[in-house]
């Protein structure tokens, strides 16, 4: 049995991916009579909606708007008043106003394109500064406070203040948003949905239709990428499809073309920061007073969680005795920003990176030493929100990455290079991460699974987690294989469905395998215990004498060494009337959170990592390139090193894109103009680090009782790309006197890099 946990199993769909046989929703056979839907979007950022009319045209079956919603016109994931279709007001350019349902996709799109839209435009708030000035927020400001930062800043030997911004990020999942709703008896609807949150799809569909949850079944076999973009945003797409199916009585597919997807759906939150940091002559941080202002877009969506995670990650790896971080969730007339891998964490950790570089420049000290000096350790081991930093691996990942990266030698080499290279400059950046694992909202940290063992010994596995490429299905299957000690090929993962496992949480916050792995373990182990009890009785042995190994079960009683295959035992259990099906359930222990006081233990544990990046910049054009990256990531004892390696590498390059080439651009009227891959530039193969050394930290089992002592890996490595941003600032600083700190807003496009260089040169 070589397919249990801690083995490098290939993605269970890999062969289907490469042969084109993996079915995505748009590839599923369409029943006769299937209709297609297209959205009518607002061309105006803010205003009063007077009229939406779609002229009659061939093939059009229905035109639906807010008045056609039998239930509540609200698709808010946590708040309320986020209409599926605008009623009397529009709040962003791209907001859905209506939907055309037609016999063909082209008929639907053509009719939608010809809609007459009358909106009385009103002034729009299109940036964070304007929203702050107008006190336009989607929720009250949140404050994370410890100690007395005001007094501490006054008494600090040194103080500095700074300001910078980071941009948003389009998810750019390769498979656009899609849902396919099939009506059944009595108003039942099965909706095939490309979502990370099938339960929310179920709830939103039911809310729109005004029916009980048990009428809606949400089914997800796989997503062509999610990254947070198919958490809340997939729900309204599915809701619209369900509405149309309910209205017409026909199967309806809604697939957003890329441009519509990019214009209508939310993205990563852009942030504006202002902070003051106090420190001593050695560079030790004494106090931080920071303002983090997020562009929430027009509605609440998942912004509370994003801002909370940004605030609880502002400290990152560093002990800050007196701490205040105030999070503003600014309401602008733009897409409603949403979950994106890291969920505010990446936007939180950049504050201290900026501050520590400035401190180092101010004091003429090595930025790496200043970082090391401020790490959490035995002296300061409690986060501003009151959680102890336990199982601290910062010293280990830091030492490992400096070693892997040959840091000291390359630092000297690059400094020497820069002295003799007037046009091209190189830079180095080092970055540590501490990332909290668990949903910030305690009740979400629960999961269910359903395992069947059939009488031939084959096993069917279902759980609440969705497969979006991250390898969740294979990892959880490995857990079940480990329990029964059978080959992975005996286990058939099956499509996530609200009919099989109810009341699930989204596959998000990196928790997929932590939660569903344990739930599946519990389900499998329940069956295994029944099989053991039966075998003991059947073979006249003690339960302790029944051993599962290598697809077999050994009855190891004294004087006998009978071995039956797992399949045989399954058959015997069936004949012996033993239930071979079980649910499993898991809830994360130890966590609690007071969201008002912002205190508690929101995270079951922390994941640690570190990265070193080397970049080159062209001081004439501002073009940059990542020459090398060395990553060390803590994965606990990895459930699947092959899958986890893919997560680390992919997350890093995605984070690199956020900080460098991926720029969202709105025109003065608030219309997004980067609406496809021709204008919005995610990294290509040449942009990944030319030398890319990635390893998982050895011998680091999780100190908490996670599934087989593994750790979550989906998000933390995305933050490691901050090393690239640090390196770019280092390279830019080399164009100046070396003593002046650099402001580099993200994304660090060639234009921003050139502007930073020009500013430094005065």
């Amino acid at each position: 049995m070589k397919s249990g946990v801690h083995t490098a199993q290939r993605h269970d769909s890999a062969l289907k991916h490469v042969t084109g046989q993996a079915l995505y929703i748009d590839d599923m056979p369409e029943p006769a009579g299937t209709l297609h839907a297209a959205l009518v979007l607002s061309p105006i950022a803010h205003g009063r909606l007077r009229k939406v009319a779609v002229p009659p045209s061939p093939g059009v079956v229905a035109v639906l708007d807010a008045r056609d919603i039998p239930g509540k016109n609200d698709v808010a994931p946590v708040g309320s008043d986020e209409p599926l279709f605008a009623t009397d007001r529009v709040f962003y350019a791209g907001q859905p106003l209506a939907m055309v349902v037609a016999a063909t996709l082209d008929a639907a799109r053509h009719a939608a394109d010809r809609a007459t839209i009358e909106i009385d435009a009103e002034p729009a708030i299109l940036d964070i500064e304007s929203a702050l000035a107008a006190k336009a927020y989607v929720q009250a400001p949140q404050t994370l406070l410890r100690g007395d930062p005001d007094s501490a800043l006054k008494s600090s030997p040194h103080c500095l203040s700074a300001e910078f911004t980071v941009g948003g990020q389009e998810h750019f999942y390769l498979e656009g948003q899609i849902a396919f709703a099939l009506p059944g008896e009595d108003g039942d609807i099965v909706v095939h949905t490309s979502t990370q949150h099938p339960t929310e799809v179920q709830h939103i569909c039911a809310r729109l239709l005004g029916c009980d949850f048990n009428r809606i079944t949400a089914v997800v076999r796989r997503l062509g990428g999610g990254f947070g973009g198919k958490e809340s945003n997939a729900s309204w797409v599915a809701g619209a499809a369900a509405l149309a199916a309910n209205h017409t009585g026909k199967p309806v597919k809604l697939r957003l073309p890329r441009e519509v997807d990019m214009v209508a759906t939310g993205k990563r939150h852009p942030f504006l920061y202002r902070y003051t940091v106090g420190f001593d002559g050695a560079g030790r941080v004494l106090a931080l007073d920071a303002m983090l202002a997020a562009d929430a877009g027009w509605s609440l969506d998942l912004t509370p969680g994003v801002v909370a995670r940004a605030l609880t990650h502002t400290d990152n790896a560093y002990w800050i005795p007196h701490f205040r971080a105030v999070g503003y969730a600014c309401r602008t007339h733009k897409q409603s920003n949403t979950a994106f891998r890291g969920f505010g964490g990446p936007q939180g950790v950049v504050v201290m990176e900026d501050a520590l570089d400035r401190i180092a420049h101010r004091l003429g000290r090595d930025p790496v030493e200043v970082r090391t000096l401020n790490f959490y350790d035995g002296e300061g081991d409690e986060t501003p929100f009151g959680q102890k930093v336990e199982g601290n691996l910062l010293p280990r990942v830091w030492a490992a990455v400096k070693h892997e990266a040959d840091w000291a030698r390359r630092r000297a080499e690059i400094d020497a290079f820069n002295k003799t290279s007037p046009v091209l400059k190189r830079g180095l950046g080092l970055f540590p991460v501490k990332f909290g694992i668990s949903f910030n909202i305690p009740h979400m940290n629960q999961a269910g699974a359903l395992v069947h063992v059939y009488s031939d010994g084959s096993i069917r596995l279902n759980h609440g987690g969705t497969e979006m490429g991250q390898g969740l299905f294979i990892k959880v299957a490995q857990v079940v294989a480990e329990v029964f000690k059978v080959d992975i090929g005996r286990i058939r993962p099956s499509a996530t469905s609200t009919a099989e496992v109810p009341n699930t949480s989204p596959t998000a916050a990196s928790t997929g395998s932590d939660l569903n792995g344990w739930a599946a373990f519990e389900a499998a182990n329940t069956i295994k215990k029944r099989m053991i009890a039966f075998a003991a009785e059947h073979f006249g042995a003690a339960e302790s004498e029944i051993e599962f190994a290598d697809n077999t079960v050994r009855i190891a009683k004294p004087g006998s060494n009978r071995v039956v295959s797992f399949n045989e035992l399954a058959k015997l259990c069936y004949l012996g009337r033993v239930s071979l099906s079980s649910t499993g359930y898991y809830k994360t222990p130890k966590i609690h959170w007071d969201g008002v006081k912002m205190k508690g233990r929101p995270f079951f544990y922390f994941s640690f990592g570190a990265a070193a990046a080397e970049v080159a910049i062209d001081t004439l054009t501002g073009e940059s390139r990542v020459l090398r990256a060395d990553l060390v990531q803590d994965c606990g004892t990895s459930l699947n090193p092959a899958v986890d390696l893919g997560q680390i590498e992919g997350a890093f390059v995605q984070g690199q894109g956020w900080l460098t080439s991926e720029e969202l651009w709105w025109d003065k009227e608030g219309r997004l103009r980067t609406v496809g891959p021709s204008t919005y530039k995610i990294p290509g193969s040449r942009d990944a680090p030319a030398i890319f050394n990635v390893r998982m930290l050895d011998n680091a089992p999780n100190t908490e009782a996670t599934i087989f002592r593994s750790k979550a890996v989906g998000e933390p490595p995305l933050l490691l790309a901050t090393a690239v941003w640090n390196a770019l600032k280092d390279a830019i600083a080399a164009t100046g006197d070396g003593k002046t700190a650099v402001r580099l807003d993200a994304p660090a496009t060639p234009e921003r890099i050139l502007a930073a260089i020009d500013k430094l040169k005065g």
Binding site: S13, A14, H17, V18, T19, G20, A22, D26, D106, H110, D113, F172, Y173, L174, E175, R222, G224, G226, P257, R258, V423, L424, R426, M468, G469, Q470, G471, A616, D618, L620, T621, E623, R625, G646, E649, G650, A651, F652, V653, Q654, S661, W665, R673, T674, G676, P677, S678, T679, K681, P683, G684, S685, R686, D687, A690, T749, P750, E751, L754, A755
Partner: protein, 464 residues
């Protein structure tokens, strides 16, 4: 001259002949594969030829295998071609092709949606027998986007893409008469037919590779009422590399022109590799890049710097227009309503001349230029005696910087940089602000100065 109005579109799909009638010839190949043929392995990721999820392989009669985007290719363009899709890589018994196996075994898939496109790109790469060096691998992958893997395992898989058997091309027999599919899609076989059609259907779009016009069918879903597909006109497929001049027919693809252009102007090697992607260069033509007269097309600055000339033809006769008089306004050319571009001609470099070019964009590969610059410099006795400085992205048309050229000859590079503000008043957009464009254009002249002074010293980050 045309055979009959009920012509069907004939091509080879995965080794089997197909004959398509009763559909608009402006239907995209991707839509036809998925919706009419039931081949769902090829995916739509963007419908604008940029993400590569829809990549299929064009099997040329000469044995070349070229990746292309099926999303922006119209069915009418496929007539006479041989196409292979992801489904056509499986063995007869359903076993995966070695290219597919290597891809899976390299852990090069996560969500899998982009994967069929990558596999087809890898198949074309393997078939081409190129050495699997990093440079060629990245060139090959520039037209495919993956959001999950970070590319390392994909690049590793590409390193193993050698020595695989590929299927031979089996295009249908060449037509003897010119087809007119659906009465709206004309595919003339001679220059006479072409100019006659142009005169008769002034509202029809001239279609070559379709890498621009294909978006009308694909992304905008509003295909033109009629199209004249110029790719089968022999006179437009001429490639002539003479001692003093190079001549290319307007329908010659970038892929086909590449080796000759790069041999004559080595600086184009990197520049062309950054122009679109292999998928785009398989279909796209320089003639199309001139004809659509985009201010951000990458080839016009090159042709302007090289004093290129464009040969125009109509029933009234032929004429030759220097490139710098061809672009007359935003997306406007000197072409008369009844004229077509037949070819363009470039003089080779003469003694003392050198050619250089630059492209600045947010992403290195497959991006549209914020600024593109192309320069031809003649140096005699250590002195610059003549200069052509041409830029894209700086004005409503691709344009020579005539003030800067004059200043360079008279007072040197500093003066040339300063004079750029007289030549250009660029615009702000998502690719860059006006101020950045002007600043970069000036800095590119600094880069040129450095190149001329120290040709071996790297002046680009890509050289590190």
């Amino acid at each position: 001259m045309f055979s009959r109005m009920a012509d069907t579109i004939r091509f080879t799909l995965n080794g089997q002949p197909v004959d398509v009638g009763g559909l608009s010839p402006m239907t995209t190949l991707l839509d036809w594969l998925r919706d009419h043929r039931g081949l769902k392995g090829t995916k739509e990721g963007c419908a604008e030829g940029d993400c590569g999820a829809c990549t299929v392989v064009l099997e040329r009669a000469d044995g070349q295998h070229e990746a292309m985007n099926s999303c922006i290719a119209m069915l009418g363009q496929m007539d006479g071609q041989s196409i292979r899709t992801i489904e056509g890589l499986l063995g007869k018994d359903g076993t995966p092709h070695p290219v597919q196996r290597v891809f899976a075994e390299s852990d090069a898939t996560q969500c899998g949606f982009c994967t069929p496109g990558f596999v087809m790109t890898a198949y074309a790469f393997a078939a081409g027998g190129e050495p699997p060096a990093l440079e060629t691998i990245h060139d090959a992958l520039a037209g495919n986007l993956c959001r999950c893997t970070g590319y390392r395992p994909i690049v590793d898989a590409m390193k193993k893409m050698t020595g695989f058997a590929t299927e031979p091309a089996a295009p249908p027999a060449a037509r003897t008469a010119s087809p007119a599919f659906d009465g709206t899609f004309f595919a003339p076989r001679s220059l006479d037919e072409l100019v006659a059609l142009r005169a008769r259907y002034p509202e029809a779009l001239l279609l070559a590779g379709g890498t621009d016009l294909g978006l009308l069918a694909s992304r905008s879903r509003t295909p033109p009422p009629a199209a004249i597909h110029v790719s089968h006109v022999p006179e437009l497929n001429v490639v002539h590399a003479g001692d003093r001049h190079l001549t290319f027919g307007a329908a010659v693809s970038y892929a086909c022109a590449w080796p000759i252009l790069v041999e004559a102007f080595p600086a184009l090697r990197t520049y062309l590799a950054r122009l679109g992607s292999r998928q785009i260069r398989t279909m796209g033509t320089i003639g199309g890049n001139l004809g659509n007269a985009s201010p951000i097309g990458d080839m016009p600055p090159v042709l302007l710097a090289l004093d290129g000339k464009v040969a125009l033809v109509s029933r009234r006769g032929a004429r030759e227009v220097p490139l710098d008089r061809f672009f007359v306004g935003y997306r406007e050319t000197a072409l008369a309503a009844d004229e077509v571009i037949q070819s363009f001609t470039l003089p080779r470099l003469r003694a003392g001349e050198s050619f250089h070019c630059d492209k600045v964009s947010k992403r290195r590969d497959q991006d549209i230029s914020a600024v593109a610059g192309a320069y031809r410099i003649r140096i005699e006795n250590g002195r610059i005696e003549d200069a052509r400085l041409a830029f894209g992205g700086m004005a409503a048309t691709p344009k020579r910087a005539s003030h800067a050229e004059a200043a360079l000859l008279k007072d040197g590079f500093d003066a040339a940089r300063a004079a750029l503000a007289q030549d250009f008043q660029p615009l702000d957009d998502w690719r860059g602000t006006a101020a950045y464009r002007l600043r970069v254009a000036a800095n590119l002249l600094r880069r040129l100065e450095l190149r001329l002074a120290e040709p071996r010293r790297p002046v680009e980050v890509e050289a590190l």
